[in-house]
Amino acid sequence: MNTEVSVLYFAKSAELTGLKSEIITVSSNVTSAQLWQHLEEKHPRLTVIRDQVVLAVRQEYVPLSEQPLTLREGDEVAVIPPLSGG
């Protein structure tokens, strides 16, 4: 089943896509790796950060893996480059 979720871009990922956010439609049992693949296909410049990125789904960190995400309509997914707070 397809679900509409919002994707937030931060730091380097926002610069690479030229976006702060967008709405995408994906299968609700997409894996984090597949979701990233989808974003890379839309924004090929994201490839350069592929090995140093995790996602945050409903404000919980999710590494890129084969685990299905169980997305719900309206969920917020964020692209999280390496942290540099503090």
Binding site: V54, A78, P82, L83, S84, G85
Partner: protein, 158 residues
Amino acid sequence: MALNGRDAISLTTDKLSADAVSESVTCASCGAISLFIGTTRDHFEGMKVVRLEYEAYVPMAELELSRICSDIRTKWPSVRHINIQHRLGVVPVTEASVIIGISSPHRSDSLEAVKFCIDTLKATVPIWKKEIYESGEPRWKENKECLWADGGLIPKVN
């Protein structure tokens, strides 16, 4: 939580004040206030840094900071008040980007809790820092504490 212990968390573009943080965690039954101030350095690998710019995923950063406060209170139950302030936007060199203040009855708990707080903040809170140099391209920094930084600990799954 210690009786009437307060957690104060703020993400702000305003200039931070160590005096204000210290006053906010003061309490009559505490013999110790420990403060950490993170300031911006003027150089990186021989390049002159003119300023830092900070960005945050604000709702999740607040959530992670409140988790840190909760972890602190579990590990050091005597901790009384906690105040964590992180600046966002432009931070000129030598100004504070983060201030952490923690009070406790005796000094070892607040000292240890402050160290834990900044170490965990650097590993888990979704805040990013960009260094702007006098010459050369700006660079997004990466904390070595972050598991998914280059050379980090998270195994990559292809």
